[in-house]
Symmetry: C2
Subunit: 204 residues, 2 copies
DNA sequence: AGATCTATTGCACAGTTGTCCAACAGTCTC
DNA sequence: GAGACTGTTGGACAACTGTGCAATAGATCT
């Protein structure tokens, strides 16, 4: 096993423990046990536990973003692309799931190592959504005066849904919340500064 | 100092430490240092650390809810009451602030002691908002087909805004987000199952 | 084969944590 | 004032943590 492979294996094991126990409760010994190796090995590849956690979180973040972008390539229609984005964002059945996100967000407030990734990621997602909106406006398929502001609103909205889904999944039906989020985004695109307008194009 | 007062003092000190260091990093010794007493004293009043944390969180939750309800008594106008609710929900400059909420939510996923309060609280807030909506509909001031569903949406939305405000306050301007939330709620009240309608009454 | 280097182990160390407990210091009752 | 009770202290204890390090195993090179 090459050093690069070993490093990746450690990150993989760390992710497994992270999901199972939460970021704060992820210890070097647990990760070592997950791999069936010694805990000292981890510190041979990572200078500190913070560095390992940051790299694992960064890996999840990058992978998630990359897969979203990849899925978006499936379509050229601006409105359909936005729908794909919404469907992808709702990924509670994934390996790591929403719990890890909420966890990372909370943890990032205290760990500088995580904060950097959390911040970069947030900007990246916003930029992605804003681009989707601008493409839609450019193609004439939708109306949106302030794509940047609306993108922040959509991101915040989805975060709130995700948070509720993690904490109280049984109270708020996931399918309902997701379809509502999609419907809301379509409505929001037609809103201009709080003034309701009927859209010219028919909605499906 | 009576036993009840001492218990309250311990909860107060615990809250101070919670806000400063986060729930997960709140230790018995820190709480004792905050009060200038011994750490053994804490276990004389609370059977375990989990019990203390749960009681402190429960105190914040109850107090927050009670103060919101109290503030709502200031008005009889249904629409104004909803506006008061929105203004109150946005309380980042409070003593404990939004960080504690996010923290508690994340922590509740792992600590059964916190989970109960988190769940009860979520239901209470939903019930409060749903009642506000129903009162508005009843008075004829607004339109809302499914107050229960919309109440969940509003709660989720505000949680998302709060989450963003805590994690990336500098990226999303708080005033913008807050005014947008209020404006959105007004719009949402006029939405029926995804179909946009112009409201008959003029908006302020 | 011998030397050299790296991956890996097992353990030691110091620092924290929750929990518990014997001792002390008050206050109240008789 | 003697005794009983309760609040409070200070520290002990075991379990845990991240980190560092000497010793070993294994591969690679000369």
């Amino acid at each position: 096993m090459t050093p690069a492979e070993r490093r990746a294996a450690i990150v993989d094991a760390t992710l497994a423990v992270m999901v199972r126990q939460g970021i704060a409760a992820t210890t070097a010994r647990d990760v070592a046990a997950e791999m069936g190796t010694s805990s000292g090995l981890i510190h041979h590849y990572f200078a500190s536990m913070d560095e390992l956690l940051a790299e694992a979180f960064d890996w999840v973040a990058s992978d998630d973003l990359a897969r979203t972008v990849g899925a978006l390539d499936a379509s050229d229609d601006p409105v359909e692309r936005l729908a794909i984005f919404f469907a992808f964002y709702n990924r509670a059945d994934e390996d790591w799931g929403m719990q890890l996100w909420l966890d990372a967000w909370s943890e990032a407030a205290r760990r500088p190592a995580l904060q950097q990734t959390s911040r970069r990621l947030n900007v990246a997602w916003h930029s992605l959504v804003a681009d989707l909106l601008r493409a839609g406006v450019g193609s004439g398929a939708m109306t949106c005066d302030e794509p940047d502001a609306v993108a922040w609103q959509i991101i915040s909205l989805l975060d709130g849904l995700a948070l509720q889904a993690v904490a109280h999944a049984d109270l708020v039906a996931r399918d309902d919340a997701n379809s509502w989020a999609r419907g809301y985004a379509e409505d929001q695109l037609a809103l201009e500064r709080g003034v309701l307008r009927s859209r010219a194009t028919d909605r499906r």
